[in-house]
């Protein structure tokens, strides 16, 4: 139990929705969510297919603990071949949407083909249908949710949709659910847009059954006893992820102005303290509240408002409403990375990214690359339509976020993502990322473990695929870092991306805790060791997909700026990132050959041969 046992397969080309049984043998080996959906994707598509081709598939997947009483058990993932990267993509989101489709009786929704005209998918428990979306195409996420709620006279429908960014092929378009929760990275929203699927609306009135209710209640009660008093849980509730901004800036690892600097002088104007300062105009602070996803006892979500007198919202009443506030990565990407310390402009850009479905990290980092192109003269006013793309310009941020989201002006080029943009204008060295995906808010020169995690992440540069933070903050010495990256990559793959719970439980709950919950929920002999092995299997499965898609060991690297240009400030001042020792260690620990290919012995051990 805990898996519903049902998969909804939607063929957009044929216009059909069919139910099929879950492959329980695959669930036993790949658990759920990221792992299980990746198995289906690998089995069903050609890795060489163009991400925007109808032959690519888009899978919405829950985990066994999604929809249960497990703390933070509200997660789902979107798995596909990424439009930004061409690598396997898995973007994880919270809110309530994933829970709703699990309660409707589905473990996964597999979307295939391309609709001849825009449609949305309506799921009411076990009944699913495709409905015309002609009236929705061109609408933002926020308007789409309102329209569907009114059309079906059901405010309880939970909705995941794309905004205009996904429609017009922005390479880093994301899927947004519940107004401002994002399956954010790698361009999963662009794949959805290419399929002409505007939204999925779900009403689920069932429950989620568990294998041993008594044991499950005992397991989640024990987990709560560890999670509730945990200081990191309390901190995330109090200040969200935003607390990291001061830490990483003090450490000297905050990517600033396209990684040319690693300390941002304006950080005090956009940090967790700044959002609490009352404004002169209306006496309110930027941060007005917090919120939580389904079953979450952490509540890291922020609720914010923009100064009603700020230039960005002049004549735009919709942005004077409260909406999702800043978290760390967004403050990095829309603030430090573009050199902007205007809190309201950063908040405005965040609102628009949510409203139109764009990944804030990739948008900010791509705008940053464009600003460097502009500064060096590689592009000028003829290309930008007269918009002065200068580092630090709040006006440029506010203008370009709208243009990018709507596919207008120079926003079309920003929508390519930083790699394609920089190649187009003859400066590929300005791309700050890996495998086509832009860096998160940590500079690899200051954090050697993160440098390796970026280089080896299966979905391109990512801060969520491994957890080298404590090690990197403690020491720059390389001993043990490859092992930490391997172990935490496996844990995150199997536990936090495949079980249905949030990664923010990691400070309190270990693999044994989660295995206990899974065994009580599902039965079948789940142990911590089996979870770790499952994580390793998932990681290698993703690696095999990427190798078949054309990636090689040469892609497990970092930009020259990180490898060859010393950090100008901070704890790593004068140092560069060095993969020459870590990468071979990593390959050896993984059981891969010198070309980064899993050996026959490794594949056999993992059941992948």
């Amino acid at each position: 139990m805990s898996w519903s046992g049902n998969i909804l397969r939607v063929d957009l080309t044929a216009g059909t929705c069919q139910s099929e049984p879950l492959r329980r043998d695959w669930a036993a080996d790949y658990l759920g969510q990221r792992g299980l959906a990746s198995k289906y994707l690998v089995e069903e598509i050609d890795p060489a297919v163009d991400a925007l081709d109808p032959a690519n598939k888009l899978i919405f997947a829950t985990g066994p603990l999604t929809g249960t009483m497990s703390a933070t058990g509200g997660r789902y993932s979107v798995v596909t071949k990424g439009a930004l990267t061409g690598a396997i993509a898995c973007s994880n989101s919270g809110g309530k949407f994933g829970v709703e489709f699990k309660r409707a009786g589905w473990d996964m929704i597999i979307i295939e083909g391309r609709s001849p005209a825009p449609v949305y998918l309506l799921i009411e428990d076990r009944h699913a249908s495709l409905l015309p979306a002609a009236d929705l195409w061109g609408k933002s996420v926020w308007d789409t949710e309102d329209w569907i709620h009114q059309r079906h006279q059901d405010p309880g429908l939970k909705i995941a949709s794309i905004g205009r960014a996904g429609e017009c092929g922005v390479r880093f378009a994301c899927v947004i659910n519940d107004h401002d929760r994002a399956a954010g990275r790698s361009g999963v929203g662009a794949v959805m847009g290419a399929k002409r699927l505007k939204a999925i609306a779900v009403r689920g009135t069932g429950g989620v059954a568990v294998h041993d209710p008594g044991a499950f209640m005992a397991a989640i009660k024990a987990a709560r006893a560890k999670l509730d008093p945990n200081p990191n849980r309390k901190r995330l509730g109090a200040v969200g992820t935003h607390a990291m901004l001061d830490v990483i800036n003090a450490f000297g690892g905050l990517p600033t102005r396209n990684n040319r600097d690693v300390v941002f002088e304006g950080v005090a104007k956009i940090n967790a303290a700044a959002v609490k300062i009352p404004r002169r105009s209306d006496g309110r602070p930027n941060l007005i509240g917090t919120k939580a996803c389904f079953a979450c006892t952490i509540a890291c979500g922020r609720v914010a408002t923009i100064d009603p007198e700020h230039f960005s919202v002049a004549g735009e009443a919709r942005y004077k409403q409260a909406s999702g506030g800043l978290e760390f990565e967004t403050a990095y990407a829309l603030g430090a990375m573009v050199g902007i310390d205007d809190l309201d402009a950063v908040t405005y850009a965040n609102f628009v990214c949510n409203e139109q479905g764009m990944d804030t990290i990739s948008f900010g980092a791509t705008l940053s690359a464009a600003m460097e192109l502009y500064e060096t003269g590689a592009i000028g006013d003829p290309e930008t339509g007269g918009v002065a793309l200068e580092f630090g310009s709040a006006e440029a941020l506010v203008t370009m976020v709208q243009q990018t989201a709507k596919g207008e002006g120079f926003g079309v080029d920003i929508g390519l993502g930083a790699k394609r943009l920089c190649e187009k204008y003859g400066h590929p060295e300005f791309f700050m990322g890996v495998k086509g995906q832009e860096f998160a808010g940590y500079d690899g020169r200051a954090m050697p473990g993160m440098a390796l995690a970026y280089a080896t992440s299966n979905r391109g540069a990512c801060h969520l695929r491994a957890s080298p933070y404590a090690s990197d903050f403690a020491t720059a010495e390389l001993d043990g870092k490859a092992g930490i990256v391997v172990a935490t990559q496996n844990n995150r793959a199997a536990i936090h991306d495949s079980a249905g719970i949030c990664m923010f439980t990691t400070s309190a709950l270990d693999a044994e805790d989660i295995a206990g919950q899974l065994e009580a929920a599902c039965g079948g002999g789940w142990t911590a060791d089996r979870l770790r092995l499952t994580g390793e299997r998932i990681w290698n499965l993703e690696r095999l997909f990427n190798l078949d898609a054309g990636f090689t060991a040469a892609d497990d690297t970092l930009p020259d700026r990180i490898l060859k240009q010393p950090a100008p400030q901070g704890s790593a001042k004068g140092k560069t990132a060095d993969l020459s020792r870590l990468l071979p260690e990593y390959y050896a620990l993984r059981g891969w050959d010198e070309n980064g290919v899993p050996t026959a012995e490794t594949l056999h051990r993992l059941g992948l041969a």
């Binding site: 945990n230 990191n232 830490v247 003090a250 967790a272 808010g441 801060h463 404590a470 903050f473 923010f504």
Partner: protein, 78 residues
Amino acid sequence: MRVGVELIAIAPRHGRRLLSLELDDGATADDLLEGLDLPDDESYMTLVNGYAVAPGRRATTRLADGDKVIVFPPLKGG
């Protein structure tokens, strides 16, 4: 000797606090942390004059007059 201390993201306020502390000559980074009376339910990371000092080396890291020490918990990204 006098050292400057910056506390970041530490309970109960979770914000930034700047302190100026008088320490005995020869005091180590460990001595400083013990004197700060921080919540004991988590570990802490330290930067001395901008450079990371691993927890295992604090006991032998002697501070000097005018040093700047930053203390923060080991946050994880997200």
